[in-house]
């Protein structure tokens, strides 16, 4: 009988979820809002979006449920998010990997930036190049020299091809006058196991988000040779920028924001624009974000859309130049 009751309950639950959403009244939002996230729970994007959602609830006046729809490097979740009813009750947690790089490097993914509506960006996430603390490579110049002399025996590990981390390393090699195959490339599945591979000495270099590396940096286990921001990061003032070391082209920055499907009512976009502005001004939120190694950075709907378009074009071009296409 227990099984039967469970089924009845389950079916009831299904029915409740499937009930048609009320037509959008003038006082959006009248019910909780779902934010679909194309990445797994507990990852750095997940933590960023959840922290944001937690603070945004106050300003939105409704609760926000973050839902992880993973798979296909983020493609599964975005494909879902661009096809939902544009009523403002299902939005996406936007991140560079799924929303802009993936469609640029993988034409088969099924969507492009023109298929969604950027609402606002709230933070930027720098990329760092790491070596083990006890490594002989003390500086970026050491790395360049070592790669040049190594005849292809040094290795680089990161979160996978088609990621901003891979792109960062390729841009660095190009800027240093080195070729992609001067370094062995070992792609890993995620931030955790690729960092573990560096810590265990299985790869020599590792490019990742500063947030992923923050703890290991503070503990002195790894050393960051350079960061991709235009200026040094406040909380990590010892890390030089690629630009000041003579590699201004290595300027990849990941971002996080809120993105909706196309044809959203203007009211929804306006409401969220003001919610995002309010969170940006929230000192407690800002302190949390910066502590983790992210940078508070705001863009409104129009600026954000223009930014994503130009980034997308850039990645699409780089993907071809640097032989970065995934099929």
């Amino acid at each position: 009988m227990k099984t039967l009751f469970r089924n009845v309950a389950a079916i009831g639950l299904l029915a409740a979820v499937a009930l048609p959403v009320e037509a959008l009244a003038s006082d959006y939002p009248t019910q909780p809002v779902r934010i679909v996230l194309p990445f797994a729970a507990g990852g750095s994007t997940d933590i960023a979006i959840r922290t944001f959602a937690q603070h945004a609830e106050t300003y939105l006046g409704q609760s926000i449920a973050v839902e992880n729809r993973t798979g296909g490097g983020g493609g599964v979740g975005v494909n879902y998010g661009v096809n939902v009813e544009p009523d403002g009750y299902t939005l996406m947690g936007g991140a560079i990997g799924a929303h802009s790089i993936l469609p640029a490097v993988n034409r088969g993914v099924g969507y492009e930036p023109s298929d969604y509506t950027p609402i606002g960006m709230f933070q930027m996430n720098p990329v760092v190049l790491l070596v083990l603390n006890e490594s002989d490579h003390q500086s970026l110049d050491d790395v360049i020299a070592a790669i040049g002399e190594s005849s292809g025996s040094l290795s680089h590990g990161d979160l996978g091809p088609g990621t901003i981390h891979r792109l960062t390393f390729l841009l660095f090699l190009e800027s240093a006058g080195l070729a992609a195959d001067d370094v062995i490339y070992v792609p890993f599945g995620g931030g955790a196991d690729s960092l573990a591979a560096l810590l265990g000495g299985h790869v020599d270099f590792h490019a990742t988000n500063l947030t992923n590396a923050a703890e290991s940096l503070r503990a002195g286990a790894v050393r960051a040779l350079a960061v991709t921001t235009p200026e040094r990061v406040d909380h990590f003032p010892d890390i030089p920028t690629f630009a000041e070391l003579g590699h201004p082209d290595v300027d990849t920055l990941a971002w996080r924001g809120i993105i909706g499907p196309n044809d959203l009512p203007s009211e929804v976009v306006e409401t969220w624009d003001s919610v995002i502005r309010a969170v940006i001004d929230d000192a407690e939120w800002a302190a949390t974000v910066e502590e983790r190694g992210d940078i508070v950075f705001h863009m409104g709907p129009d600026a954000f859309a223009a930014f994503i378009d130009s980034e997308f074009e850039r990645y699409r071009r780089l993907a071809e130049e640097l032989d970065f296409i995934v099929e």
Partner: protein, 502 residues
């Protein structure tokens, strides 16, 4: 020592105990529902823990986390449906025991073995905490590959009468595991333009298709012939005797050792540990012929194996800030949101918090023991349901579960297709368990093989460049040879088909 006492008091506060109790109840409820895995349970509960203090929210999350390692066993034993992937190996002997009218004994054994293995695992994790973390780091792709080669020899142990048929099933499992995005370069394989397939097939629909659906079909057909499936009424049977429980102490130790090693390595998770624990129990058993037909030892090995992962999986996260799996990743996210970023600094600055987390883990297991015993009484009701009501209900339940995992119809279709495959395999006496193991281990096997070869530029000597690699490859060889001999002794050269349930 002072740190331990302090952490004990942190763990023993009322709110933490209440949190753990709530977490265990919620986790067990989720785990007996196929389609709702431990990861989802933790993710569902996560937002509710933000308002709690750090240790209470950890107690809730760990309660859910721990019970997810056990809860799936109940449905695995009662209706041949693993509630979570961790319970895949539990079906092999748990369900036959239930069919023999020993459901109560099987449920109690699985619960006690789970709690024993789980607590042993936490002790291992706590006592050699820094060592385990360092050991885990030594495992790069080549070492992982060697370990996986060893793990894959367990396939032979669950192959039943015919090794050839076991390998056939394993090959199908490996092939199914390659559907979706290539784990190294991200290109699509066998996707046929269906975007939902990009994420690959999910393990749960495969398990339901392999174990549950063939059981429903075969038994419905058999019941129809013998005049009314409703006649099948099983007794709960006698309770587990203390002697039977304690007699398995070697099994618990072996499974806990296997689970602690696999658990500390990133990404492996509970189900390979369950199969390895099962395999070890079989290798050292005096009655290996009972395995797959209702061996209490096999059940103990599997359940102690998957639960012992719980403690070890916390180690890389707590000490290095590297979560070993999806569930620990969510727990790590919760800690970060509470301002406690796991990693070397957390251990240095807040050791009492790290230790109290482990103590909470033990507390959750003890709570699970009591709640589990209550749940077994309720399981009584399942066996009283007439088959003509139970079977359709199980099918609805399974379909809902397959859909709920990712809200994708592709998973339901996969379940049905694998169900047809599983039924055909059953009729041909091709065992299902090798397929399940190969499907679970396949992606790790492929990733680590390819990563290793990328690192070495295609040269295979990378696998023997480290002692770990040599050791595990030798173990694999020994295991393969020993299993082949044991198999011959057990099954002779006869090719008689055994009704293999897996």
């Amino acid at each position: 020592m002072e740190v331990l006492i302090e952490s004990f008091w942190i763990a023993a506060q009322g709110s933490a105990v209440m949190g753990a109790l709530f977490g265990v109840v919620f986790g067990l409820f989720i785990a007996v529902t196929p389609g709702l895995t431990g990861v989802m349970a933790v993710a569902i509960i996560l937002p509710f823990t933000f308002a709690l203090d750090a240790i209470t929210s950890m107690a809730v999350l760990l309660g859910v986390y721990v019970s997810a390692y056990y809860g799936g066993a109940v449905t695995a034993i009662m209706i041949a449906t693993p509630g979570t992937p961790n319970a895949a190996a539990t079906v092999l002997d748990g369900y036959p025991l239930c069919r023999q009218g020993l459901a109560r004994k099987a449920l109690q054994m699985s619960l006690f073995a789970s709690v024993t293995g789980g607590i042993l695992g936490v002790f291992v994790a706590m006592s050699i905490f820094p060592l385990v973390a360092q050991l885990a780091l030594r495992f790069g792709p080549p070492e992982m590959f060697a370990l996986l080669v060893f793990s894959i020899t367990v396939i032979a142990g669950v192959s039943g009468a015919s090794l050839i048929k076991g390998f056939l099933a394993a090959t199908m499992g490996f092939l199914l595991s390659t559907i979706g995005q290539d784990p190294i370069f991200g290109s699509s394989r066998f996707v046929f333009g269906i975007s939902d397939l990009m994420g690959g097939l999910h393990i749960l629909p495969i398990l339901i298709g392999l174990f549950t659906i063939p059981e429903l079909i075969v038994r419905s057909v058999a019941g129809g012939r013998s005049g009314g499936a409703g006649a099948t009424y099983i007794e709960m049977g006698p309770a587990l005797r203390f002697k039977e429980y304690i007699g398995q102490w070697r099994t618990y130790l072996r499974s806990a050792a296997a689970g602690s090693l696999l658990g500390a390595l990133p990404g492996i998770g509970g189900s390979p540990a369950a199969f390895l624990g099962y395999f070890l129990a079989q290798r050292f058993s005096k009655r290996p012929e009972l395995f797959g037909r209702g061996s209490i030892e096999g059940l103990a090995g599997a359940e102690a194996g998957n639960s012992s992962v719980a403690g070890a999986a916390m180690v890389p996260m707590m000490s290095l800030g590297i979560p070993g799996g999806a569930t620990t990743a969510v727990i790590m996210g919760a800690l970060i949101i509470h301002g406690l970023t796991p990693g070397p600094t957390l251990f240095a600055t807040r050791p009492e918090f790290v230790y109290s987390t482990f103590l909470v883990l033990i507390m959750c297991m003890l709570i699970m023991l009591f709640i589990g015993l209550g749940m077994i009484r309720v399981a009584n009701l399942i066996v009283r349901i007439p088959t003509q009501i139970l079977f359709p209900a199980v099918l609805i339940f399974a379909t809902y579960g397959a859909y709920a995992i990712r809200n994708s119809l592709v998973d339901v279709i996969a379940m049905v297709l694998v169900g047809v495959l599983g039924t055909l395999m059953r009729l041909q006496a091709i065992p299902a368990a090798p397929l399940a193991i190969a499907f679970i281990l396949g992606p790790f096997f492929e990733q680590n093989l390819r990563r290793s070869l990328l690192m070495s530029g295609g040269s295979i000597d990378i696998f023997v460049r480290s002692w770990f690699g040599v050791a595990f490859l030798c173990l694999a060889l020994v295991s393969a040879v020993a299993t082949a001999f044991a198999h011959r002794r057990l099954h002779g050269s006869s090719r008689t088909a055994v009704t293999a349930n897996g």
